[in-house]
Subunit: 229 residues, 2 copies
DNA sequence: GAGTGTCTGTCAGTCGGCTGACATTGCGCG
DNA sequence: CGCGCAATGTCAGCCGACTGACAGACACTC
């Protein structure tokens, strides 16, 4: 799961193929046979009946979230190439027309021995997901809403490899409400805090859905990062 | 990581050997060679220099936690047989005299192909850890302190396979302060809430560090579980 | 242009949980 | 036994965040 918004899918270092790349490649031909394609219309809930499935997004966008009757917490948005597993307690909904590949977890486990690169791919996905979970736990346990927003903005920059410097632009690809759900807070609180951060001169609006960094040090301080330089 | 207190180590279903069992078994002999033994005295911090290590607890007890300058959040207590990896941002401290087995992650990855059962073991550890992380996220995002305490108590019962019925006993193996750290709250708040739950008759004290369930329905309601029966 | 829906900003009221402070209990040990 | 220390229970004061409500901004359609 990519904790950031519309995740630019596979940014894989030289460790090996991602699961998505693997099944498209030559050596994954047999593996591909395990998967069935499925289409989801916009707003369609992924049926919780098919648990224990591995899914790969081919096209579209999925939102993964935890829910109670009264509140929802988004865990991630999945873009084409992203991989997820339904055996967690998370729900999944299609944000737009989406097609995905599905395979039962048992089948994948059976293939593990046959496709050595598959092991590494699966472990890598799990490790990355775990890392993002810990980021979320840190957010919820240690950081105020303002800090979480600052961290969210900094992650957005880091994901593109941009430094947090004066003039750096941040494209908000989600609505305030969606960001609030991702940070575990209410829409109104996120809106107020963001406004306050602008009023205090740390950032500025640049048209609809765009921000510019004015005071990197303030952002980093709110994010609870060690001040360097 | 076992989210519960002093985790009764391996309660593995019939899926295969755990990593800890695997390295002790015949077929793990070569694997064992990757590991070096290390001893930690009580209160010793696991050196953050050796990142990217797989560790297996042999004897003693470790606490895994996230920390800032001003606060700590315990993620898990590791008992003999438990497995963890240091590549997360978590810190580790020995609660008592502890000995553990250490292997570089790279070495383990190299062995993956040679020991097919190892793949399953590693994936299982990661999946379990991820599941516990999601439980913690649910706690922090959806449940009040009272709810988290109720959920903690219910998990304790479930872990022993006991039902939450009138008269069921709960052994608190941690101090209130340690429980608070595990639930992401302050010591005082945890203490007050626990006292209130007792005052309201849902549970009762039974000597030092022991509780009895008096009103299972109340506990389940606080925990936010669907009321059945 | 008017009408409609969505996204957004903002406010007052309320409450849960944190902080700091202090009293109490229980246990180990000289 | 009495001292000391750790673990607890409890309180008042404060603050951050949620709730509900409403108004403005923007995009789309007819």
């Amino acid at each position: 799961m990519s904790h950031a918004p519309p995740s630019s899918s596979s940014s894989r270092p030289a460790h090996g193929l991602s699961l998505a790349e693997l099944i498209e490649a030559e050596e994954g031909r047999g593996l591909l046979a395990c998967f069935a394609e499925r289409a989801l219309g916009e707003g369609a809930l992924f049926d919780q009946a098919d648990r224990d499935q591995i899914l790969i997004v081919r096209r579209g966008r999925l939102r993964v979230y935890l829910a109670t009757h009264e509140r929802e917490l988004s865990l991630a948005y999945l873009a084409p190439g992203d991989v997820f597993s339904t055996h967690t307690r998370a729900q999944i909904v299609a944000q737009e027309e989406t097609t995905l590949l599905l395979a039962p977890r048992r089948a994948i486990e059976r293939e593990l021995a046959a496709y050595p690169p598959l092991q590494a791919a699966v472990i890598r996905v799990l490790a990355r997901t775990l890392g993002q979970s810990i980021t979320l736990i840190e957010d919820l346990a240690f950081h105020s809403v303002r800090g979480r927003i600052a961290r969210y903005l900094l992650r957005g920059l880091a994901r593109r490899g941009e430094a947090c410097a004066v003039g750096a632009q941040i494209r908000l690809e989600l609505t305030v409400e969606e960001i609030a759900a991702l940070l575990g807070t209410a829409r109104q609180t996120a809106s107020s805090e963001l406004s306050a951060m602008i009023r205090e001169g740390a950032i500025a609006r640049l048209g609809r859905g765009n921000l510019v960094v004015l005071d990197p040090a303030a952002l980093r301080a709110w994010a609870g990062e060690p001040q360097s330089g």
